[in-house]
Symmetry: C2
Subunit: 558 residues, 2 copies
């Protein structure tokens, strides 16, 4: 199912227009706009990480095109929590207009602020909220605590005269969270009694049956593994997972070990979390990693980044003996993290490298050292039943996740026509408790590559894929512009094709013959001559080598 | 641990020299040589499939370098079973010498023969064996039935005066296999009593605790899913998995449906399996897929390739509506297969595409529709205990699998110094029941790309990785060879770098200035001028775009 591109009717008075800009049909770059009475509220503004068919790309941004001409109408950006897929694109949005107000919880905005400083964006406007109401333009906002794999996450209820919308952000329903801050089902119940007209709900784990185990179940496993270890322990996890790090610190402390943070983002985030009181560290526990090397091996736990096998992160560099800490015989490495699809080979290469160095590697596949941050099917059913929303828009997920989530809604009695499967750019109008699809925007991918934002296009990525699979052959000929006579060349150079350019010796006379024939026929046009070269060598390479490298002919007139 | 390259001593009389050429530290291209008394026996000769850091490569072969000068000494190649990672490189070996005798079971050699015909290799020499003894040169061979995810798999016992070696090939210990052909533990017991001096054992699942469930457990699930389906059913699996296909045929037949094979390798392999009696098809069950389209939707099961998301295979093409069979609302797709690490994104893209078309996708993550073909830790313990081998060489696996397997051996009481962790090219000499590492060969990767074997090198792959991540910028300048004056250019062309070459307008004057300065200083050498261009534009691109494309300068004299 894909909705054909169609411009919507102008927004009628009294209607709320909801447009997911990113995060539908993908895991990442979450962003939704809410428009009422000429004003726009944005919920989340995250990045998407590229897959292997988007080579060389650093980040993918939401397509800001639909709001670029409306920047002055934006009354605020609500950030539900501090993960990259919800806040990562904020600096790029603020490059367009730096005084758009940012609204979120304390930890979320502290992480956003660190990001704005790195991007040298100022001034900026922050509004810290926590479980309170806030009027932002025509939007009456209420913030509701939810539990997730980062502290201080919130859902947001958005009231306008058109009705009540509730966006969960990312969440799960751990009933025994480390910080005691559960997803506030009482508020969900209250909102349900008031009447939720549109429920935007996290779909990431909608196809996972049952319930996500409690984060607390990991603590004893960490404790046991650390207790058994005779030498150094290195734990890798996400640098924003404050509760996971808390459990590592607690287990280290219980076993008489100190903790050193490794990796720029781990150090930065944990400093922020500690300053704001989200991370509790017993006295005399933290130690700088440079000093940690003087401790006996059984007195230290390193807490590091790199759990996804990222080649430049600490753990990969350790596995390659390219880091000051060199793992060895008897060390224990714990990957206390998920394995994000697409990263398997990279992660297994790191595990193999560490094993080869003599380390014992503990990971998700051989011990309970990770639980997910997202509500599984069983938890989502609780939400549907307590809220009984009139309309449901599954968000945050690939298509199969959105479909699975819609089916759960239908299982609780919500009619199929009230569960909306949309994509990025699907425009949903809410009025009198009725949500209808009012149009479909054309939403693209905006690639960040180096310092370039949007300068690298899908056509460039297609070129990169061809170059990366097949390499290229360039053929340069200098011709006399009046006679068409070859002055110099053809010079043939290839990269990524063959060990030695002499493989092309056979085709050179063919190119010369083809160009002479063309010259004899009076062909002088550079483009036409280039095409003749392309065809001649292209056909030869396909037949002789059975390959299809990029052919780059260049005819220079002199 | 890696063993430094070291040439071995010449092979002493009465010693068996065992050299794994491929399959250690990797999953694939399994191949081991056994040398005794000047003669060489090869066990298996498979291919490895490339990972994402080997872009554009079709296949990776074992490095035949160590045997290239010894072709006349090879007395035979034993093929333990018909999977690509054990037979796929046979045609490439036979290109070196086509009359090397091939020894294997009926199905294995039938699959090899199909391959040799495709490669137009003839004549060739086949010896079909099954649970019998065979003298091949100085090697006294005994073939032992093992159970695996393809019928007719065998282990091979190799007796020489130096001792008894047993190579399992790939195997598991399903106690209720579909064809009743269990791994022959009685023979293992007998060999154990005789005394196994060296045990070469499949490590693929050594790090998986417990026991692989029986293939038989999948049948009822398939039956249930097909019974519930109101419309078409499409099952994807490996084209060599005869028993999986058998169960699909049985479930289809039980539900009054006919079966059509889709995909070239599926059709070919199942034709061979049926002809040789490995696949039993009830009368009037198979139907050509073109005719199947005339059947009612609830009367057909398509059995297809493409379970790993391979872009050119049937299932991917169906998901892209690029196949004669177009899945739609209410159809059921079953992925009755494993998910090989590295293929996750491709497979999930196919699942998403099919879901989007309205199909219900059943796969490993939501139903028991796959079991592994390899012995898990529990099964391996049985083998060690019944064989009590003197020396163990874990094979077929990444380093972590080899390590896990060695630890299992040690758990059953085999001393650590008798469990050998080797790599490709590790030379192991067996004499008087003692196995020792005698040397280490330098083993490379041999890439097949198009019609080229070995012509694409690691340097080419490095170029491809740079090109694929960053693209390239080529700069062509035509200069007067005597004065150094620029006659034409610089012409700058880039691919995969930026939407528009005009981004380089700023750097053109810098290049001209640099070349003029060089000309003024009397620099005439093409290479030196190229380096000046490379530095000038390279520095500019790094600073301006924060990227590192391949820079390809070319100075032409005219």
């Amino acid at each position: 199912m894909s909705i054909p591109i169609a411009a919507p009717e102008p927004l009628a008075q009294g209607t709320l227009r909801v447009t997911p800009i990113g995060g539908l049909g993908e895991i990442g770059r979450n962003m939704t706009t809410f428009e009422f009475d000429g004003k726009i509220l944005i919920v989340d503004c995250g990045v998407l990480f590229p897959e292997e068919h988007q080579p060389g790309v650093d980040l993918i941004l939401p397509d800001f095109e639909p709001i670029k001409s409306r920047l002055d109408d934006i009354v605020g950006v609500v950030l539900t929590h501090g993960h990259e897929d919800h806040i990562g694109a904020v600096p790029y949005l603020l490059r367009l207009k730096n005084d758009i107000p940012l609204i979120g919880s304390g930890l979320t905005l502290a992480l956003v602020e660190a990001k704005l400083k790195e991007h040298r964006i100022k001034p900026y406007t922050l509004t810290v909220v926590e479980g309170q109401k806030e009027q932002v333009g025509p939007f009456d906002l209420e913030f509701i605590a939810v539990n997730h794999s980062i502290p201080d996450a919130m859902a947001v209820a958005i009231r306008t005269p058109a009705g009540l919308a509730l966006a969960t952000g990312d969440f799960k329903m751990d009933q025994l969270p480390l910080d005691g801050r559960i997803t506030d089902l009482r508020s969900f119940a209250r909102l349900g009694e008031e009447g939720v007209d549109l429920f935007l709900v996290d779909s990431t784990n909608a196809d996972v049956p049952g319930f996500t185990p409690t984060e607390r179940s990991i603590g004893p496993v960490l404790d046991q593994v650390i207790a058994k270890s005779q030498r150094r322990v290195i734990v890798a996890s996400f640098s924003s997972h404050v509760h996971r790090v808390q459990q590592v610190i607690d287990a280290a402390h219980a076993n008489g070990r100190r903790v050193a943070f490794l990796g720029r983002s781990m150090v930065r985030n944990m400093t922020i979390a500690q300053q704001l009181g989200y991370l509790t560290v017993p006295d005399n526990t933290l130690i700088d990693y440079k000093k940690a090397r003087d401790l006996p091996d059984d007195k230290i736990v390193y807490m590091s980044t790199g759990s996804q096998g990222e080649p430049m992160a600490v753990l990969s560099r350790m596995a390659n003996l390219d880091h000051a800490i060199e793992p060895g015989e008897g060390d224990t490495i714990i990957l206390a993290s998920s394995l994000i699809p697409g990263n398997e080979n990279a992660v297994y290469r790191v595990i193999d490298g560490l094993t080869r160095l003599g380390a014992n590697v503990v990971h998700k596949a051989n011990a309970r050292v990770h639980v997910s941050g997202h509500a599984a099917a069983g938890e989502l059913l609780y939400c549907y039943n307590i809220l009984k929303p009139k309309n449901v828009l599954p968000v945050h997920g690939e298509y199969r996740h959105l479909m699975a989530n819609a089916k759960l809604a239908q299982d609780t009695g919500i009619p199929e026509e009230r569960t909306i499967i949309g994509g990025n750019g699907t425009i949903i109008d809410l009025r009198d408790g009725e949500a209808t699809i009012a149009g479909q925007l054309d939403i693209g991918f905006v690639y960040v590559d180096g310092s370039t934002v949007g300068g690298v296009t899908d056509a460039d990525l297609k070129d990169r894929r061809i170059l990366g699979e097949e390499g290229f052959v360039s053929i340069i000929v200098v011709v006399d512009s009046s006679t068409g006579r070859i002055i110099s060349g053809p010079e043939i150079h290839a990269r990524g094709v063959a060990e030695d350019d002499s493989v092309f010796d056979d085709v050179t006379p063919k190119i010369i013959a083809a160009l002479k024939e063309a010259a004899g026929n009076g062909v002088r046009d550079n483009h036409a001559l280039s095409q003749i070269i392309r065809r001649t060598i292209g056909r030869w390479v396909n037949q002789k080598l059975r390959r299809r490298p990029m052919i780059v002919p260049l005819v220079i007139e002199a």
